[in-house]
Amino acid sequence: MNKGSIQVIDCQILAHDQFAGRQHILTLESAQIAKATKPGQFVHVSVSNMLLMRRPISVMSVDIQNNSFDLLYKVVGQGTQQLSERKIGEVLSVLGPIGNGFTITDKKSPLLIGGGVGMPPIIAAAQQIKNSVYNPFVILGSEVPFPFTSKLSKIPTPHIKENFTMPLLEDWGIACRLASLQNYMGVFKGYVSDLARVYLDGLSADELLQVEVYACGPKPMLAAVAQLAKSYQLPCQVSLEEYMACAVGGCAGCVVAVQVDNRPTMQRVCVDGPVFDATTVF
């Protein structure tokens, strides 16, 4: 229990950009959250005065120089709809940062996989390990247009012929490729797990020993990634989501079934997760 680790902060909206597929990137001002957030952690946001319950949203990236952080969300219900209507200059009450994010281990070739609105914690993990001894590879998947303008990558990835990437990751010098079942230019046609298999099959046995998988996305995607990791005997961390009320561990509303010591348990996504060892969930 980390007493006092979660702040209650009124954050001003610095930017709020809409993308295709009802996706939005929200930039909020807070030096404290920008400094304290670890990859895979989330914030619990009051979206409007009409809806009282907060909405949990993963932090995608932080900007310590500008005292801000970015959230990516997709409009799926009333809460995200009302959030999407908030304007630059308005103030949102935010709780955060919350949760046990990804534990970046000493395996030097992290395979980071994000699907849909599961991309943010993956991008946050990439941000933490850019310009370091790590040699990550990122796979992002989406069935609606990506919430960025993808561009040709100059970072080579042998064995994968599709070569478009996310500009932010390219700027960070991190290799990334995209996957979708849609016909998007420069994007691998298939599931993120299919592209991950192509990538892993291109690695030597020694290189595979340095791979740990980090994933966030819809549950069927995570199940496929967990299965893939198991078949290659790779450790795998998955970030989960669930409807949430308090976000501090008080209400046990956001639980998921997790195996602990070969026994079923119900663990809270908010404070026991949101990141879990994939073998305990799938």
Binding site: A245, G250, C254
Partner: protein, 315 residues
Amino acid sequence: MHKNLKTKFCKLPLNSPIILLSGCVGFGEEYTRIDGFSNAEVGAICLKGTTLEPRLGNMPHRVIETPSGMINAIGLQNPGVDAVIDNILPALDKTETRFIINISGSLVADYGEIARRFDNSDIDAIEINISCPNVEEGGAAFGNDPDMSYRVVEACRQNTSKPLITKLSPNQTDIGLCAQRCIDAGTDGLAVINTLTGMAIDTNTRKPIIGNNQGGLSGPAIKPIALLKVHQVYQVSKKHQVPIIGQGGITTVDDALEFIIAGAAAVGIGTALFYDPLICGKINAGISQYLLDNDLNNIDELIGTLQLNNSTSLC
């Protein structure tokens, strides 16, 4: 802490009339993760519902927002009475506030046994949850049957000398009758009300959103109902000097004051914490100021001071 907020509930001295409600605040320490939150700001904390054996609870989804409130169906996830007594109670900082355990069972005898085990602990009081739908007789909730409510309270009373608070269900015809029976069986206090049963449906899948299909509705949506129930129960309980925790959708200072005026000696805060985790300090300050503004020394002078209208209708 504001001095004029000091009060007593079932003879327990409280720093504030605010009691944090069972099921919203885990086992008492969870909200201290929030910077600026302190257990010392509340009079008591009612811990998570505890059963004889450990329970994993219901499958997700367990919570969903509904207009001006939320539905939950957690399913009494808890580690069981022995783990609570051995592992959780010793770790609580009892200098800050009072702790009340909430107990639940499937059989009348379960309630008696759990009360007996907590009688030997340092818990300050026991709240009896008589709204569990899985019961021995006929499948109806204990709390919706005044005679069954009597038997549950009686079983607890026979096994403990700790203050007993009985949490009444609003899902019954005559809550006053149930309150009377619980008082007859020896309850020291009453908590009014528990959640109302409700449902939410996903129109795409045509399935209930809550894994348990139905759940308990809380939040501002139920406040007017809770307020009337407190008024009704107070008509019964005041004759016996049995105090009430008024609870159900309290979100503002005025909400809290309304419950006290209707007859509550303490006010429960639950769902509102999910909106504003720092709400207790604001409600404390507001109640304290109201007492000053109205020349009242403490909340005892405000409890049950409701002035009813002359309701004779004009024909």
